[in-house]
């Protein structure tokens, strides 16, 4: 089964708005959680990540929240911009497990000017 799931295949938001991307996971051993961003015809690049010893990490307009008991983490983007339009992939891994990451299916985000 899918160990890491993104519930929304796509999301559209008006420029300037706040948006939330969600990711659920199943493996209790996961202790590293990340969001990757992918533009069309480009490769995924790491946007933000967090380890399980904290429940939140902020980097500019991007914040990742971790809810370990609920096996859920999310990406919040504030003041959304057209340049945020991309595919967002969540990923999770167990740091004792050869650094292997399991990716979600991706959410296609469109920010409308």
């Amino acid at each position: 089964g899918q160990q890491v799931k993104q519930s929304s295949p796509s999301l559209t938001v008006q420029e300037g708005g706040i948006l939330i991307l969600n990711c659920d996971y199943e493996n209790d051993m996961f202790d590293y959680f990340a969001w990757y961003k992918k533009y069309p015809d480009n490769s995924p690049t790491l946007l933000i990540s967090v380890r399980s010893n904290v429940d939140k990490r902020e980097d500019g307009r991007f914040t990742v929240f971790l809810n370990k008991s609920g096996k859920h983490f999310s990406l919040h983007i504030t003041a959304s911009q057209p340049e945020d339009t991309a595919v967002y992939l969540c990923a999770a891994g167990a740091t004792g497990g050869n650094n292997k990451l399991t990716f979600g299916q991706g959410t296609v985000l469109s920010v409308i000017p």
């Binding site: 990757y36 490769s43 995924p44 050869n98 650094n99 292997k100 990451l101 299916q105």
Partner: protein, 111 residues
């Protein structure tokens, strides 16, 4: 910094054909990965390798072989291409700090 190079960029094959995709990196990273990207399915791990000559199966290894000939290169073989198959194959390395770096991808089309 470093670069990951994947060849070829585009690969068109025939049904039943054996096809090989190559990946080179100059990050000097130990671990390398091969993922398959299909629309609506995110990235699925095919094979990975934690050092030269090591191979570990991912969730999607059936129908594929891989080879880590040296630290800087990791190749993937589609053992028998499936008709109408279309996907992007992404090679990646990681820096032992959990961040993965991806190559530009090889786009496969099987006629």
């Amino acid at each position: 910094g470093g670069i990951i190079t994947q060849t070829p960029k585009f690969l068109i094959g025939q049904e039943g054909q054996k096809l090989t995709l190559k990946c080179q990196q100059n990050f000097n990273h130990d671990t390398m990965y091969w993922y398959r990207q299909d629309s609506g399915k995110g990235l699925r791990l095919i094979y990975y390798s934690i050092t030269e000559n090591d191979l570990q199966k991912g969730d999607l290894s059936e129908g594929y072989d891989a080879s880590r000939e040296k630290k800087s290169s990791f190749s993937l073989t589609v053992t028998s291409a499936q008709k109408n198959e279309m996907a992007v194959f992404l090679c990646a390395t990681d820096d032992n700090q959990d961040t993965q770096y991806f190559g530009p991808g090889t786009r496969l089309l099987v006629l």
